[in-house]
């Protein structure tokens, strides 16, 4: 029986939600770096995305080539209902565990 999502899986899922229709590999990497300040390689992102897809937590659609040098077709990712549910469950677990703790630790 499988338990929750790993920490990085959570971050990737959250990036998908933040980016909406513009969520593809490189943008996801950038979003996580921007928001968390920690450096991330695209490779790590794609591997995680692949696994989330295997688990049917995210789905993809292909975009059109963009009119710019190297503008290869992008592959856009979006969370499925199951993915959102898992994410919510993971975050709720943390919320429960942090409830009542000193600010800075508590996840409001």
């Amino acid at each position: 029986m499988n338990h929750g999502l790993g920490e990085f899986e959570q971050l990737v899922l959250l990036a998908l939600i933040r980016l909406g229709t513009e969520a593809y590999g490189v943008a996801i990497r950038d979003e996580i770096e921007q928001q968390t300040g920690r450096s991330v390689t695209v490779g790590a992102v794609y591997t995680t995305l692949l696994r989330l897809e295997d688990k049917r937590l995210v789905a993809t659609r292909l975009g059109d080539p963009t009119p710019q040098r190297g503008g290869r077709r992008k592959k856009y990712y979006r969370p499925l209902a199951a993915g959102r549910r898992e994410l919510t469950a993971s975050l709720n677990a943390l919320r429960s565990m942090t409830r009542g703790l000193t600010p800075g630790l508590e996840l409001p």
Copy 2:
């Protein structure tokens, strides 16, 4: 180069903080089960605790035998400064990523 804490490591660290001076194997397991509703084996807890100790994120002290049947000596765990720092960093990353999202996802 190693990045943050895994999800379960976060939960264990949080349980240590919640339990204060009463944090030992079984109590930690129970606390996580109580708060998150998900079932956890003691083995999983001890393995994680061992690894956190290797990484110098937690320290231990031995208690006295308690006056009850089977009241074997407990081993109490407490987070070290480095452990609290790592935990805070992980939680802050999630806070940043959830900021601005619909309630239920956002970690206040």
